[in-house]
C-alpha cells in the first residue's frame, strides 16, 4: 500500500492562476444524476457485501428500483425546466435493462460517463486485467448504445484499486485515442480542476464532483432534513459564486433518482436550482465540457504553477 494516492500534487488555494470559463462565468455548474442498476443477487465480493440484509434485500433493492421506475422522469423534467443537461454517472448495464431511460437522456443531449457496469460489482479484489476488462466493457457499452465516447469515470460504488484511473485513461485511449477517458470524478480534494499524474502521461484531469453535495451522502449517511439539504446547496453555491469572481470555480450536484426525486425531497432541490439559475455568470454545463475546456485552455499553465509550488517537498 502507498502512503498517498500520488495522482496529484499539493496546490494551495491562494495565488493560483486565474481560470476563465466561457463568457466570463464565475461558476461552472454541473449536475450529475447517477443512474444505477443494483442487482438483487450479485456474486459475492470478498471485501464488501452488496446488501446489509440477507437475500432478498427487499428494502435496499426496491428503493433503488424506485429511482428508475418513478424518480428518473421527475428529475429529468425538473432539470429540463432549469435548462440543465445531466451528466449521467451510468451503471452501463442499464443500457440493456432500461433502454427507455437511455433514449430519453440521449434525446436531450445529456452526457453519459462510466460508473462501471453494475453498482453491485466492486473493484475490490479484481486483478488489473479484470478491472481493465470491466472498464473497457463499460466504455464500449456507452458507445454502442449512445454513440458517445466516454470521457469520464466514477468507479462503481466508489470502489477503487491503485490502478483505477490509469486503467480508465488507457482503456479510453485504446478505444478512442484522446477523445475518451480524460477526466475522473473520484477525487474530492479541490473546487477547481486538477491535472492528474498517470503512468501513461496522458493529459487527464480531475473534475470536482462533491461528496458533500451528493444527495445520498446527505440523506443516507448524514441523514439531513430535505429543506436543509436545499439550503446547503444554496450556501455552497453562494461561496463558489463569490470566489468565482477571482478565478473560475466548479459546483457539482451529484444526485440519485431514488433520493432527490422522492416526493418529500424534490421541492427543496427545485428551490435550490431556481436560486442558482437565477444568477447571471453561471456556466451551466457538463462534466466533459468542463474537462475539455480546462485541457484546452488551462492545463499547461496550471501544471507549471503547481510545479513551482511543490519545490522542496520531500
Amino acid at each position: 500500500m502507498k502512503e498517498e494516492p500520488g495522482y496529484y500534487d499539493y496546490w494551495p488555494y491562494e495565488n493560483r492562476p486565474k481560470i476563465k470559463w466561457p463568457n466570463g462565468a464565475r461558476v461552472a455548474l454541473w449536475v450529475a444524476p447517477n443512474i444505477e442498476f443494483y442487482e438483487l443477487n450479485p456474486p459475492a465480493n470478498p471485501h464488501r457485501a452488496a446488501w446489509p440484509q440477507p437475500y432478498p434485500a427487499v428494502g435496499g433493492y426496491s428503493i433503488r428500483d424506485y429511482g428508475n421506475r418513478v424518480g428518473h422522469t421527475r428529475q429529468m423534467q425538473l432539470l429540463e425546466k432549469y435548462g440543465i443537461r445531466g451528466s449521467i454517472s451510468l451503471s452501463t448495464a442499464l443500457c440493456d435493462h432500461h433502454p427507455e431511460i437511455i433514449e430519453m437522456c440521449k434525446e436531450r443531449n445529456w452526457e453519459f460517463f462510466s460508473h462501471g457496469i453494475y453498482n453491485t460489482r466492486y473493484t475490490y479484489g479484481m486483478s488489473e486485467e479484470q478491472e481493465r476488462d470491466m472498464i473497457r466493457d463499460s466504455i464500449e457499452t456507452i458507445y454502442k448504445h449512445t454513440g458517445q465516447k466516454c470521457a469520464g469515470y466514477l468507479a462503481p460504488a466508489l470502489s477503487h484499486s491503485e490502478y483505477t484511473l490509469d486503467l480508465f485513461a488507457e482503456a479510453g485511449t485504446e478505444l478512442f485515442g484522446n477523445d475518451a477517458g480524460f477526466y475522473t470524478c473520484d477525487l474530492f480534494h479541490d473546487d477547481q480542476p486538477t491535472p492528474i499524474h498517470l503512468r501513461s502521461g496522458k493529459r487527464f484531469v480531475s473534475i470536482p464532483y462533491s461528496l458533500e453535495m451528493n444527495d445520498t451522502i446527505a440523506y443516507v449517511v448524514n441523514k439531513i432534513e430535505p429543506r436543509r439539504y436545499g439550503q446547503m446547496i444554496k450556501d455552497n453555491f453562494d461561496r463558489l459564486y463569490q470566489e468565482g469572481a477571482e478565478s473560475g470555480t466548479i459546483m457539482c450536484i451529484p444526485t440519485h433518482n431514488y433520493q432527490v426525486s422522492c416526493p418529500h425531497r424534490l421541492r427543496a432541490f427545485e428551490e435550490a436550482l431556481e436560486y442558482i439559475t437565477g444568477h447571471s455568470d453561471v456556466w451551466i454545463t457538463t462534466g466533459k465540457e468542463i474537462a475539455q475546456h480546462f485541457l484546452d485552455n488551462h492545463y499547461d499553465t496550471i501544471n507549471d504553477d503547481i510545479a513551482s509550488k511543490i519545490v522542496g517537498a520531500k
Binding site: 442498476f37 442487482e39 438483487l40 443477487n41 456474486p43 465480493n45 470478498p46 440484509q53 440477507p54 437475500y55 432478498p56 427487499v58 428494502g59 433493492y61 426496491s62 428503493i63 433503488r64 428500483d65 424506485y66 428508475n68 421506475r69 418513478v70 428518473h72 422522469t73 421527475r74 448495464a93 440493456d96 435493462h97 432500461h98 433502454p99 427507455e100 431511460i101 457496469i117 453494475y118 460489482r121 479484489g125 479484481m126 486483478s127 486485467e129 479484470q130 476488462d133 470491466m134 441523514k223 432534513e225 430535505p226 429543506r227 422522492c262 416526493p263 418529500h264 425531497r265 424534490l266 421541492r267 427543496a268
Partner: protein, 306 residues
Amino acid sequence: MALDKEYLEYSKRQYGMDHDRYSWSMLEDRPKVNWPDGKSLALWVNVSLQYFPLDQKGIPFKVPGGMTMPYPDLRHYSLRDYGNRVGIYRFFKAFDRFGIKPTIAMNTRLAEKYPYLLKKVVERGDEIICHGYHMDALHHDGLAEGEEAELVSKSLDRLRELSGQKVEGWLSPARNESSITPELLKQNNVRYFCDWVNDDMPYSFNTENGPLVAMPLSNELDDQFILMNNLHSEQSYVEQIEDSCDLLIKEAETSGGRILALNIHPWLLGQPHRIAKLEALLEKLTSNPKVWSASASDILNAFENQ
C-alpha cells in the same frame, strides 16, 4: 490477486429486471388512474400495531425498534407497549376528528393478547391487515422448511378468526421477506402486500402460485424512518409530508391519481409531544378537497376498477 471468473460474468444483463418478480415499467408511461369523485390523491394512513416480545431472539437480526439491552429490556418493551395502551387511542380520536379512514396493520400476537384493542378496531370498522405474528417473528431464508409456511398460515388464520375480517393485506415485520414469502402469502389468499417500495402505485407481483399486488407503502415517509432512523424533527416530518402531498397532487394533474401512503406508529407519533403534529398534519391534508382518505383495499379496488 483476482476475483472468481463469475464476478465478471453478467448472466442477467438483459432487457427488464434481473429477476422475474415483476415487469419493468416506468410510472410515467402507464395509463392514468382516476380516483372516485375526481380526487387527485388517495391518502392511505397505515397504522402499525406491533408487539415486541421481551424474550427477543433477534434472528436473523434485531428488529429495528425492538429490544437492544440485556434481558429484561423493560425500557423498550414498555415504551413500545405504550403505543398499544395510550398512543393508539390518541390516533383514533384524531382519525375521527379529521375523517381519516385508516388501515390497521396488526401483529397477530397483539390481537391474541389484547382482545379489547382488537374489538375496538373491529367495531370501528377499520380494515385490518396482517403484520406477521409479532415483531421478532421475522421471515427469512434461515427458517427450516415448513417453518415459514406455518408462521404465515398461523398469523393469517388466527387474525382472520379473531377479527372476523377477510384480512387480504400483508406487511412483513421489518418488511423482511424470505425468498418464498410472496409464494406463501398467495397460497394463504393474500391479495396484496406492502413490503416493496419501488413504486408510487400498485403493480402486479409474480409468485409461483399466481400474482399478488404490491401496494406502495412508502418507507421514506414512515415516521419511524424519519424520526427514529434519520433523527429529523417533528416539524421536518410534517414538512416532508406536506411537500410530498403538494408534489403528488401537482403530478396528478398531468399523470393521473396518486397515493400518499403514511405508515405511522402509535409508540412514536402517539406520544404527547408529537400527537399535535400529527393532528395538524391530518387537518391540513384532509382540508384539501383533492384528497381522498381511504383504506388500502378501497384504493386497490378503485385502482383495479379502472
